[in-house]
Symmetry: C2
Subunit: 568 residues, 2 copies
């Protein structure tokens, strides 16, 4: 059976679906249209193109064997016809036709299809602000705009930049501008933290410290009110201040491009994404859709989710390619894994953050672990700072987020948990999770296993405590509160703090606690600290045994508190 | 309820079970005995202690906070009594007693227990060879022997060493001796490859190339017949040659220490390991066992397995600690994940190798992928060489092994697959596996996803081919066979080989194949090659479309063939 497939959108999902389909049904015809000139590029690589890590735009458009994925390539190598600079104006599902406009010739045309694929992607959300259309304001909707932006930078005319939004792309762009180009870069975020929805305030704070240490200026909890300038952008006015700017990048999230689908009468979600089934079929059985324009199932909540990620688009594209050829492949959904480079660190996660979990109706808590990715006796190693999100009562694992200078190590841990997240794992599944081990690559008891242990001990009420942010809040009010810190580490570590805060910081080492019960401070609340929360947990059990139960363990210990940035 | 727990063996599992139990039941008594002086060390760290990466033996015995885990530490910090230099002679399960011998005082004693834990570990298998007990022959049964070995090396008296066995420990020791100490090190292995049972001959060959490039001398398929010397070792006689040796290390596998259990009437497996249930209980409900002395379920085959790994012992130790205190935790079994450092590479795997799969009765095949761990346009990246083991017909994934200079990246991929291996994943589960992505940490279509694709296309008969080893075999006999290689890459890559082998190597680029059908070589067998097996797969489909089906795709492409070491 020979059929004609029309694909609207030639980045990520479209090309993947087209090529897969043509391999399976070489006699069928595929026409892929895109309103831009440049197609099939790695959009996630844009920040690295801007930074200079990727020197030329065409590298983002190249195959692994250095051929440019342009119209010619798709026609000759893949048997796929591509029409660039061609806009889809409307779809007539009953007639199976797409009305298209050739933007060069200003000529309209009707394309018949047997099957249609919507790969319309998303666009950056553009706030309705005064000055938002001034020259020098970029939304980076695609590679062409990124090339303009890089050109402006290369000309040396950008001394100061303002990025609106501290999501994944905002942070990647802040590094791109700062690291190589030395542009004074401010990031303005309306939420009180960076990466809202991705990580907890504690994890965000650790990321903020890294950004600030690398000269990124962060203004969280601030709203951009106006972009000012005559002829070109000159200033950004926020709810708190005025920032000078030669360039503004809008990175306040994306919106699915679903207008065509909506106008064609396809089912659209309340959030504006195209509704598809597991086979990536829309409400019209002849129309598939995937990538940034669709909603898919959140495999943790079981509810519809929106995951505008390049990797999703690629995997979904293959499923669509198969199903165009009569297959019945399914794309199950996503847990929402992500990883972002923040200078010499990586921040990564999967599933729900604690705040997202609560919004989704889960009664959730966090378990923290700060542990080396390698055996502690092995010379080369990086600390993993991990936060596990767990449902109270059931102990179900809802998510995991982390930060480390060992990016590949961190990502490996995230990916292992992401792999089991759809099957609703419990703490025991993490305690027993099998990870490959030898000292140059891990610990006999991996950080993931220990996270399972900590979470289980918290669930059972044995390990009662607080995270770094909560500790910082209490510490700042220590003079008003009946609270004392008991440092369970060795004398060398504890002594400087005992000396500095004689009233508030005392030392009883965990290992010799029983012989020193008389030295245990008596206070309304006793906060137990050690390096990572392990020895202080043992101290908590020992104190509970003799009836002292008003103790709180500092989860993640001094290691995580230091990363959090409390200056004690 | 206060009870008395006796633990036999104070390395890895014993201490973990002891400490966990004491945290849960602080009023109970724990007595842990060990016949050695040094206890609770990280045995997996021994090769790194020998190499000098870990400078002092006591680092292997230290906590993360630099306290030595000795008798004093366990008594004071953990409330666990330890008796070193104390050997368990026999167990009387009906009387719940262990007869022990104090090796210092030569004094026997009966220890009563409510619960007993067997953490007796394993010992290196010592072949019955003439000369096996000569001075200078080591089996590295523990840290004390390793200290003797390191002392002999440090004295500068070891110029040449022979290692018997090319398993994980044999290879780690070969690096330890060669890398820092510059000892001329030979490894003799009776199997025809290194790491038999862990990886395929193809993957082993890649590892062998790395070992040999780093001056390790490998003699596979050779049997050690005799260790020769007067007063101390001087030579090793194999089935093929005589090797001079100032030191011999026996690393030909380990055997479970199960004699005590057997004599006590506990159930022992046909292979000599103690039989336990999921709660790590032996056939006597008051006796637990775990670590290197027990068999656990192989989660891939569903049959009993033996996994003498330090990480297993630690995780099992916690389960036993919990269950000693009345819990009902379970240790489900293992897929058999491993990772080993081989100079600047890592080799890792999980589940079954192709040969093990066949031995276990599976009809299995391998899918290969050679792909960067990062986006191909990102400047810093490492190639992952992966082999996926898949069951014919069902498409069930049975195992994954790989090699890379990006060790953490590789381990992350192995761990993600290990996490789902017990749930019997199919190729589609790998094609859709969610891994965190951004260009500095992965590809939009990860190597794991691509492995799923390749395996699926092989299952469905679309991608028919051979691995590097099979190709090498055919290539060596090319003059006798009606076989021609069609190079599907660009001219630059293909030309030197076309020129060198005009009869046997021809060039038709995949992307322009349809326009050059007249140039397609006609041969009994046409082997299609490209860089990684992707473009040649496309060529295979295009040729099949016009009726040319006697083609074989080189899986893993020239990249994997190069790593395999065929000199073309």
């Amino acid at each position: 059976m020979s059929q004609r497939v029309v694909i609207i959108g030639a980045v990520a999902l479209g090309p993947k679906a087209a090529c897969r389909f043509k391999r399976l049904e070489p006699d069928s015809e595929v026409i892929m249209i895109d309103e831009n000139e440049i197609i099939s590029y790695g959009g996630c690589g844009i920040p690295y193109y801007v930074s200079g890590d990727v020197s030329e735009a065409k590298e983002l458009q190249s195959t692994t064997f250095h051929m440019i994925r342009d119209e010619f390539f798709f026609r000759e190598a893949k048997g796929v016809q591509v029409r660039t600079r061609t806009r889809a104006l409307s779809i007539d599902p009953s007639a199976k036709q797409v009305l298209v406009l050739d933007l060069e010739k200003n000529h309209k045309d009707l394309l018949h299809y047997d099957k249609l694929v919507l790969s319309t992607g998303s666009r950056p959300w553009k706030p309705r602000l005064p000055g938002v259309n001034l020259p020098g304001v970029y939304a980076i909707s695609g590679l062409e705009e990124a090339m303009q932006l890089k050109e402006q930078i290369s000309m040396g005319s950008v001394g100061k930049a303002v990025i609106v939004g501290a999501g994944l792309i905002g942070l990647e762009m802040s590094e791109a501008l700062t690291d190589l180009w030395g542009i004074e870069t401010s990031v303005v975020e309306i939420a009180p933290q960076v990466l809202p929805g991705f990580v907890s305030p504690d994890m965000a704070r650790m990321a903020q410290n890294i950004l600030e240490a690398n000269n990124v200026l962060l203004y969280t909890g601030e709203q951009v009110l106006e972009i000012q300038g005559s002829e070109k952008v000159q200033r950004v006015k926020t709810s708190q201040r005025v920032l000078e700017a030669d360039m503004v990048i809008l990175a306040a999230g994306v919106r699915p491009n679903s207008e065509l689908a909506r106008e064609a009468g396809l089912e659209i979600s309340p959030h504006g994404a195209i509704v598809v089934d597991k086979q990536m079929r829309t409400s019209d059985k002849n129309i598939f859709a995937g990538g940034d324009c669709v909603q898919i199932e959140n495999l943790v909540t079981g509810r519809p989710g929106y995951f505008p990620m390049g990797s999703m688009a690629n995997r979904q594209g293959r499923v669509i390619g198969t199903n165009l050829a009569g297959g019945a492949d399914e794309f199950p959904g996503a847990a929402g894994s992500f990883v972002v480079k923040i200078f010499d660190h990586a921040l990564a996660g999967t599933g729900l953050s604690p705040e997202t979990a609560r919004k989704e109706g889960f009664h959730a808590f966090s378990a923290y672990v700060a542990q080396y990715d390698k055996s502690h006796f092995y010379p080369e190693k990086d600390l993993l700072y991990l936060e596990l999100v767990v449902e109270h009562r059931t102990g179900r694992i809802l998510g995991l987020q982390g930060l480390s200078t060992g990016g590949d190590s961190l990502k490996g841990r995230i990916d292992a948990v992401a792999a089991i997240l759809p099957s609703k794992p419990a703490t025991m599944d993490l305690s027993n999770l099998e990870v490959a081990y030898s000292p140059p690559f891990g610990s006999a008891m991996d950080a993931l296993n220990n996270l399972g242990h900590v979470a289980e001990n918290m669930l059972l009420g044995r390990n009662r405590g607080i995270g770094p942010g909560e500790f910082a809040g209490i510490w700042q009010e220590r003079d008003k509160r009946d609270v004392v810190v008991m440092d369970c580490r060795g004398m060398d570590n504890a002594y400087p703090l005992v000396e500095k805060y004689p009233e508030k910081w005392q030392h009883v080492q965990s290992e010799t606690l029983e012989a020193n019960l008389d030295k245990v401070p008596r206070a309304g609340t006793l906060i137990l600290v050690c390096n990572n929360g392990g020895r202080s947990y043992e101290a908590q059990l020992k104190l509970a045994k003799i009836g002292i139960t008003s103790t709180l363990n500092l989860h993640g210990g001094m290691a995580m508190l230091k990363k959090w940035g409390l200056d004690i």
